[in-house]
Amino acid sequence: MTAGSGTTPAAMPMVAAVRLIAAREIRVKLRDKTFLFSTVFFLFIAVAATVLPSVLAGSPDSVAVADQVAATKLRDAGLTVHVVTDDDAAERQVRDGDADAAVVAGPQVLAMDDVPNSVVRALSVSPPVRLLNPDALDPVVAYMVPFALAFVFFLTAFTFGLQIAQGVTEEKQTRVVEILVSAVPVRALLAGKVAALTLLAFGQVAIVSLVALVGMQLAGVDAQVANLVQPTVAWFLPFFVLGFIMLATLWAGVGALAARQEDIGAASMPLQMVVMLPFFAVSFLSGNDTVMRVLSYFPPTAPTAMTIRIFHADTAPWEPILSLVVLAATAVATLAVGARIYEGSLLRTNGRTSFATAWRTRSTVA
């Protein structure tokens, strides 16, 4: 349509309006320092968590020794051996920091301030060990991976959710919303926002996941762990999207209840709890199988609880799917609730709107 052509176009299709609104949101966020910083921060954590441990583990301990027999034993154990002329030279190497430890006559192991277990083990005779559960995960990994997933979901749902609320309040506080609502349906406004922020949140988590997986490959992480992490992350993404959408419209509704940025904290308190409590529940109760089974179907905790169970290879094939269906149904319900609150409070600019008032109000023309 050219300007002033006198044509009378029909109302813009809903989809076109949603796309315009979402495009603006994304453009603004991609220039937003907070968003860029949080993405970089997450990437940094992902790289640090996967690559750093193996870098820090570094090269094997070095040991100085004069005795040839001991030298052979130590070399067989995978240690770096410095063969020296006598025990004094060996001790000097340790004192100068050229070697981590020394083996002198006795045999006696010398080290500065840390018992060199690898050296002691190489010179000792150990009884044979038979593991009854050889496939069990390293307890640190078993704790860290679920915690990381729960943390990513919590942090993303919280920060992006808060950004949705702030964006809505900004439009309301600056009154630009009145122009927007006179041009496009309220629902298009809401849908555009939620779509844009979901896309950005998903994009951020997907990039971070990808970097973490690649990092694990590069760092040569134990194949057993890698095999568990990959399907876990693959399942985490759909859970993440549905879980995020479930919360997003509620955040938008909460943002519309507040009249000023300062009100958001109080208006969103119940929602903050809905995001925060599942994080703590899942983090602290991840050891309790029965509780985790329940939490993995309860929508606020499902995105994290179910992925953790998947990580522990603790689920029947149908379980994640059923949980996703429950989550999707809940998301549809919260979309309706969030939209109604949003519509009912968006144009009430005099102070904070109560939930009940927003629910009853139908202030705009459909």
Binding site: T8, E170, R175, E178, I179, S182, V365
Partner: protein, 303 residues
């Protein structure tokens, strides 16, 4: 000039009522906004101007009554071709001026090309073209106001609804904005603008709608309203003291300041008799009927 009856009133508000809770804000409001004319919408704060404008734009729903444009009830497709300047100004503070206006143009259905074209033309016309790349929050309030006008006009609206468009503008900006609005009116758009600054409205509008306490008290051409509400009031300036007027039958003195007098005539009394009496006493410098100012009409109809 055509009379009121032959004007084509293209935007019509009919019997609109609206309450907020117990409080009725609009009672049976009916008026028309003629195409090609600037209509001033006048009322005290809280009289219902903003509520009425929001209803025209579909931001609020009416409890009853209707608004029609060219005989058809308004729907979203029609309203998308309206231009609106809300009373409470607002734009995205961190978005740049041009980006913002382009965005609003596109939300009103313009193509990207047309939106860019209209935006730069309009910003230049309003004298803020050099600020196109700055975030809105960096502009002075006066310039933000000009950008707000651009936001209402970018999509070449068929109807303009402007809530207090001149408040906060410096005199220079008032002239610029007025020029732009007149242009739109001349090209056939009905322009409805509200104001509580009666002098401003008096200077700018062709037609008037006066609202008080939620109901329309007077509506029509400004000149007609003036005539209708003209008082039998006269102003006279003579060479000497005009105190003798006090004793002329049918004259009520309103103001006397030496040689300068303002007086009302009782019905049936002839102003020419008073003039002749004055001439008998000496020279008369000026003599004439006092036309009521908008403020006076306003006070009268809203009393």
């Amino acid at each position: 000039m055509p009379s009121v009856n032959t004007m084509t009133e293209e935007l019509n508000v009919e019997a609109v009522c609206r309450s907020f809770g117990e409080r009725q804000v609009l009672r049976d409001v009916t008026f028309g906004v003629a195409a090609g004319r600037m209509t001033g919408f006048v009322g005290a704060n809280g009289a219902g101007k903003t509520t009425m404008m929001r209803i025209i734009l579909g931001v609020l729903a009416a409890d009853s009554g209707s608004v029609t444009w060219r005989g058809a009830r308004l729907d979203r497709g029609v309203r998308q071709r309206f231009g609106y300047m809300p009373e409470e100004r607002g734009l995205y503070p961190k978005m740049t001026v041009a980006e913002q206006i382009v965005y609003l143009g596109r939300l009103h259905g313009l193509s990207a090309k047309a939106a860019h074209h209209n935006t730069s033309a309009l910003l230049d016309r309003l004298g803020v073209g050099d600020r196109a790349g700055d975030p809105v929050e960096k502009l002075s309030l006066g310039n933000q106001q000009r950008v707000q006008i651009a936001a209402a006009l970018v999509h070449d609206p068929e109807v303009l609804i402007l809530d207090e468009p001149f408040s906060g503008l410096d005199p220079l900006a008032v002239d610029v904005v007025l020029g732009v609005l007149r242009e739109r009116a001349l090209s056939g758009a009905p322009v409805l603008f509200s104001s509580h600054q009666l002098e401003v409205v008096e200077r700018l509008c062709d037609d008037l709608v006066i609202i008080a306490d939620g109901s329309i008290r007077a509506a029509g051409r400004r000149a007609d309203l003036r005539e209708r509400h003209a008082l039998p009031r006269y102003r006279m300036e003579v060479a000497t003291d005009a105190g003798w007027l006090r004793d002329v039958p049918g004259v009520t003195l309103v103001d006397l300041d030496g040689a300068h007098a303002v007086f009302d005539l009782a019905s049936g009394a002839d102003d020419q008799d008073v003039l002749r009496a004055a001439l008998r006493r000496g020279p008369v410098r000026s003599f004439g009927a006092v036309t009521p100012s908008l403020a006076e009409i306003f006070r009268e109809v809203t009393r």
